[in-house]
Amino acid sequence: MSRYFAPGNAAEAAELLRTTPGARVVAGGTDLVVAARGGKHPLPEVLVALHRVPELARVRETEAGIILGALTTHTWVERSGLVRSRWSALADAAAMIGSPATRSTGTIGGNLMNASPAMDLGSPLLVLDATVELRRTGGTRALTVAELLAGPGRTTAAPDELLSSVRIPAPVPGTGSAYIRLEHRRAMEIAIVGAAAALRFDSRGEIVAARLALTAAAPVCLRVPAAEAGLLGRRLDAEALAAAGRAAVAAVRPISDVRASADYRRAMTAVVVARALTLAARRAAAGSSVPGPDHPPTATGSVQ
């Protein structure tokens, strides 16, 4: 017989996870409930619904950065002028997810804990050096996003741990970031392959900080340290873009599925890497970026 809990605070939610075998949290349900509707796997027998926990929906802006409660919706992120200007790659990604209904319901915590290799928020959070806070009865711990993601649908969080917030440090002034994905259509889409980049230049136009991460190209969203290191100290010219692309292609472990073959994903990795780096550089040069909330940059020119 299925059971349902709707705790009013995070401590109570964590305690339910500790004491109730088989309990799973549900935030917006855009993965958990939709997977059940689609026949992928049934809903858990014990649901701990989080929507009544206000502390998990809180957004805190500090000197050091921004802390997004786990229940922060994609819609909130895409509409936030602050996120669009300072953490542009994350706003790009949030604006691309599913439909308006998916975005108003789906959450940053759910997107991470669902741990799809094609999740749009993963690579942006990697290049923005985000950390997550996991809460259990008796304590919390912080992990980088890379430490959290363990494989398709798998994280390193224990069953009694609740992702409570995502912390993103303030970018060094002059940083530009972007997320690009390859897609068959402009909405209701899942990345064929995607790339997030964050770049900062010195006064001579040479790269002094570089981050690059890939989506839907390996069992987890992953950074490409070799590509990052290769960009340092040079201008973002065609040769630099090509070198970053080669390093990225060497790092991928794509699969073939209904959306694309592994070979196509491998080939397109260099394309999205070049586009993400180029857009990040343009934003770094502009000082900030304000993509409109309803017009995420897309790698394809097609319209619905």
Partner: protein
């Protein structure tokens, strides 16, 4: 096991005892008697079940009914004034944006969510707002034209803005 659900639907309080796995759509249709929201795909692809939850569009087929406890739901039955039609509905009729009509309640709700927030929208905004609604009859052009015309009217529903 059933749990009590108290939700405001179209401005009226509604109550039901609901199993954890029940969708908002099934409760709206089978317990509350509102059959405007439709079951199409039943897994968030088609948008025929679209309702507003606290003013934002939600696929009612894939939203747990119990998670709406204490919140406000608007269905297509709640958008029109007692003596007429909402401008979105009127323009859909005038433009020929309705053929079989199955997708229409969902289209109306997605369009309303857009116009409530951004009446100054352009065609690209409308296409993005309706991206989660499938229509197999019209080819969309007339629907998009209708929503844009509704947006140009001053009275597209400020009274029931969230």
């Amino acid at each position: 096991m059933r749990y009590p659900l108290n939700v405001t639907v179209n401005g009226l309080r509604a109550s039901a005892d609901v199993e954890p796995h029940r969708s908002l759509l099934s409760v709206l249709r089978e317990e509350i008697g509102l059959t405007g929201p439709k079951e199409g795909c039943d897994d968030s692809e088609c948008g025929a079940c679209m309702v507003l939850l606290d003013g934002e569009p939600v696929n009612a087929c894939s939203y747990l009914a119990l998670q709406t406890d204490g919140r406000a739901v608007t269905t297509v039955e709640g958008v029109a004034p007692a003596d007429g039609l909402h401008p979105i509905q009127r323009e859909l009729l005038a433009a020929g944006g309705v053929q079989c009509g199955f997708c229409t309640p969902g289209i109306v709700m997605s369009a309303k969510a857009l116009l409530d927030r951004n009446p100054d929208c352009d065609e690209d905004d409308v296409r993005h707002a309706l991206a989660g609604n499938l229509c197999r009859c019209t080819g969309y052009q007339k629907i998009i034209a209708a929503v844009l015309r509704a947006a140009r009217q001053p009275e597209h529903g400020p009274a029931d803005r969230p």
